[in-house]
Symmetry: D2
Subunit: 372 residues, 4 copies
């Protein structure tokens, strides 16, 4: 059984999620290479050491370069803020590591392209953390679209709204620093844009409006000093897909009340699907015509929807957020081990970034923009 | 007790709805003038006669001018296709009748304006059939916005989607004739635009895309001959409100599966509301902060939400579509009797028409348009 | 066109509901006899006069016997508290009137039986106000059961819970007077028992527990004096149906939060149905086997579910509580006019009363009781 | 940091769930002892070896006694069919191991009592796999009851219904063998009985009806031979709680359509809760009185509901079934390590078994039975 040495850079929200996933991946997917948890790195060395103990890694370091240069490490997960992604990813690629990087891949299209080209030139396997599309029901949705079960697709309405930025007194953070790229259109928008692409293919044209509703925020926790906000906190997009249909997309991180409203309504000539991450173990399906008892059917996730069955043999027991991350990591390890790459890889993340960029440009010019 | 002679023009879907409403209005609202059901008119005289018997009208006619000219009639309801509205309304206004007209008021802004000006010059009471905003919970929503209960409004996402046009083999009809004005943006779009205005006030700017997805339809029921469709069946709008916030609106009559998806998500800095006509006796309300048990609260319509109690003293028993029409008609009769006009009147309908028109222009020019 | 003179006794919640229904019935159901609104009676004569004006009745009286003895009246609706039903109904029957009586029919099985026998001896048409089963979707549910679409029925779980008695400081009322019979098991229990019988046929055996949770209440509104409560406010029943399956039923009028939780889950070997009056324009249907996309389908009420189409030609627009009452009254008038009796008639109400009585006896003896 | 050697007996559905949980426990709960995965045993030795590799155990065995007798093992998880629990548990207890055993603990009260007494005599820590009550929202529900937030509890309606036995052609299995004790009342009933006890305390009296609806099943997969079913597949219970209120409980494994309908409606004088495992990351809460905007509030699980935050710092991301198992195992390991025992332990499982037994006896005698 092939083994792969694993390294994680970062110990925050996503670092922990990756650690859970690497610990669970083989138990759920016995055919992937065995992940061996080698090292976890964090600029704060004691945090790294603590995380190593907690997550079962053999070693830790306060310097991510130790990890990238460790010959026993085959796979690197980058879970740091996105302004750090490029330097780390390029170093890891140069060292021949396979790289999983959190989203958004980079602050700009140019940087994302540079990373993608480096990875492809080196021939390593990449993946980017768009975990929500790993949901077994999303895989089903895509299959239904591809099989024509919904007929010709006539429209898409997508949303990713949360409220974690809705309080003007919550402190300013790196997510609000324009050095890291746009605001919510990149942070949450990239998720729903990626989901739209996963389901329907390329977005060819965008007409967007981005706005900064909360003009300034506390400079730091509890501070009376205010700091101006320079990035968008609501983004509204009209889009055209390459396949010919249109749609609307909203990204919003001041959506008071919403914790995880990532979802869509997808309409075709023969049927439609409605999904929200708020109840991500179910999906509504309407099939036109015929049956006098028709209506929206609530499909509950079960073993008939791979890879649900890798986690539980019984329907209705439900996957959690961390399980989606486990599917993602397992697919990545499977691809590294010689299986089929499931993506989304750096190229796909670059494509998503181009849509984000087109939205920013469109909003500035207040006009339709092609996604180049 | 004051009495008002009533005349209805048209005996179709809306003619019947008006008849129900005039029959129920006084029983629900005892303080309005007594409606006396004088005449119902339809180009098909036997239909008119049959309707008169069924709905309890004293007389019928195959000529709507008989009705408009009848001195015993004080109030005229116009429920015919919208290309006929102007001629009928102007005649009724000229005869000094108070006029209730179904929506959309007219095929164009110019015609709507002409009707509005004639009505205002004559000083009669007008109303237009945007019945969905008569819902007690929508009145509550507006009060909450106005009272600042939701804080500063930061965004609106509105939809009116149905699927009654989704089948390409359903026959061509007057709704698809461009002589009557735009397609779904006017038919369903005017409802959600009107609702947005009811809740948040004027829309100042629009950026829209209208498309005709079903290019041709059966020329008539069962015909093999096809007829080209010249009006829109999906309309997507980005909007700016005069109050400063933005929003998105979709109107769609090929939304496979949806029968009455008229609704919105309205977000403010202190709270938010979620509503769908699919379950119009309830509304979700989220109030930010404070309570450790917070979340979306499902407000169920009851006597604490006027005028629900006019229909039923007990909460949770639920109003139906025809009850909304009864509220509308009762408010109209109350205004005619000297009470406060509740609208929406011809002026408001003209304002809605201007937004529809701006959407059409915006879609043609693919650019933002001011609503003049 | 045949005409029927109508008289209503009582002007409260149900008196008003009947008035709405008689006013709307013909407009919705053009083939029934024409109801002519002759008289409304109430012990409080001014209330009767006011109601007559409001509801469009020709006359009013402070003495119900005037109404019962009026030769111009063919049909009598009795909407008074149930201790008054028998005297009024027997007088109306003696006078040859057709009688609609609100539920529960009488305080005891013996009285219900006396009323039923008098009506059957006289050959008049009767009906009892179990309006909830007039829902088009409930008619569909019964058809599905009868057609075997759910296979062999294996179980029923029914509930009718509201909270209008949950406050111990709400004043004592006639509903709490044991002279009127049992408490919630008769008031709400009779609805869900009637619904169970409507769907599945006779209940043959009962094992129940009734309890009085709120032991005393304010003697009258605002009074400090307390009055002991002598009737049940929660009733729990295990039941056996004559068809062979079992079930559970609860009736509860102190169910904090519930306004209209009247519903059931009905399970068969091939499918199941879930319904709640809280959203009575929809019903969940699960069909076993076969389709890989199966799950609970939300059937939305529409014209394909008679008699929905009598009120509205478009699906999803929704009926309200008063519309259910209109269906009930229209079916009653249709039967009086020579059509098929749709019930539930006095005999059915007597059968329901026997189940109620068996529950009371079972609770006292703490044992299973046959429904005789 | 203290370490604990772990052994799991069984590699099926629950064996795998325990393995996931032991792998994830420390990552989520850093303060518990470090679980060291020593051995997994299964009567099928190759299955055990395969599981050891997949789940990361150091060793495997085809003989569970090897595991129980291994001095490096401190903690034993028993995940085999319940007829095997007693022998295994008694051996593990005798060897001084701490024991986690799946539910139901044993086929009978007597056997459960014997196991409980042996464990208490030895002073080891025990736990039984009632994982659903480990849900952060269920912990919240219990706190709300205990804090009086719902007032006096007036009623409980509980259900655990699934449909995995609804097909008469699904093969006979060990779950249907009466040697293992009753049928659904023990298998699923014990979950909802345990949940009722968790929330409201002891059940003192039971009146139940158990029935076997599917009389015979295929003797084995695909066999034409049929085997008579001797255990219950629906159980209906009326119950009285020691605290004074009553309730109803149903357990049903032929509930066509239901995959995981484990839930309750819990009513108090000041509020109520509604929960279903079908959407176990949310709970409905109604608070009586006061607020004019009241209604059922959908509480979404988040970090404010411990221990949700151990898995994810952001609300709305949702836990999955395996996470509930991780909480259970982590609490168990914490107790072994000297923390507070969280249960449910063998004593609690014995108490649950007594309710199950009382239900069986009650059904036979068709009468109320005390839970002794």
């Amino acid at each position: 059984m092939k083994k792969l040495g694993i390294g994680i850079v970062g110990t925050g929200f996503m670092g922990k999620a990756h650690a859970f996933a690497y610990r669970a991946a083989l138990a759920a997917f016995p055919d992937i290479p065995v992940p061996v948890l080698r090292m976890i790195a964090d600029a704060n060395a004691p945090s790294a050491a603590k995380a190593a103990a907690q997550f079962g890694f053999e070693a830790s370091s306060g310097n991510w370069r130790d990890l990238v240069n460790d010959p026993a490490i085959d796979v690197v997960s980058i879970t740091t803020p996105n302004i750090l992604h490029k330097e780390m990813a390029l170093a890891a690629i140069a060292a021949g590591k396979h790289v999983h990087c959190e989203k958004p891949l980079a602050p700009s299209v140019a940087e994302a392209e540079e990373m993608m080209k480096a990875a492809e030139a080196k021939g390593i396997v990449t993946q980017v953390g768009y975990n929500y599309i790993k949901n077994p029901l999303l895989k089903l949705a895509r299959q239904m679209v591809e099989a024509g079960e919904l007929g010709d697709i006539t429209g898409f309405r997508g949303i990713h709204a949360e409220d974690y930025m809705h309080d003007p007194d919550s402190p300013h953070s790196w997510r609000l620093d324009p050095v890291g790229g746009p605001g919510v259109v990149a942070d949450l928008g990239s998720h729903i844009i990626g989901m739209a692409r996963f389901l329907l293919g390329p977005i060819s044209e965008v007409n967007a409006e981005l706005e900064t509703v909360v003009k300034n925020r506390a400079a730091s926790a509890g501070a009376t000093e205010r700091k101006q906000v320079l990035v968008d906190d609501i983004a509204r997009l009209m889009v055209r897909f390459g396949r010919g249909c249109g749609g609307m997309i909203e990204a919003n991180w001041i959506a008071t009340g919403r914790k995880m409203q990532l979802g869509f309504e997808l309409t075709g000539s023969k049927g439609s699907l409605v999904f929200s991450q708020e109840r991500f173990n179910e999906m509504q399906f309407y099939k036109a015509g015929g049956d006098p008892r028709n209506g929206y059917t609530r499909i509950e996730a079960g073993p008939q929807h791979p890879p649900y069955g890798q986690f539980c043999v019984a329907a209705g027991h439900q996957l959690g957020f961390n399980d989606l991350k486990t599917i993602e990591i397992a697919e990545f390890l499977g691809a590294v081990g010689g299986g089929q790459a499931a993506g989304p890889d750096f190229r796909e993340a670059w494509e998503i970034q181009k849509v984000v960029e087109a939205a920013v440009q469109s909003s500035r010019s207040r006009s339709w923009r092609n996604v180049l």
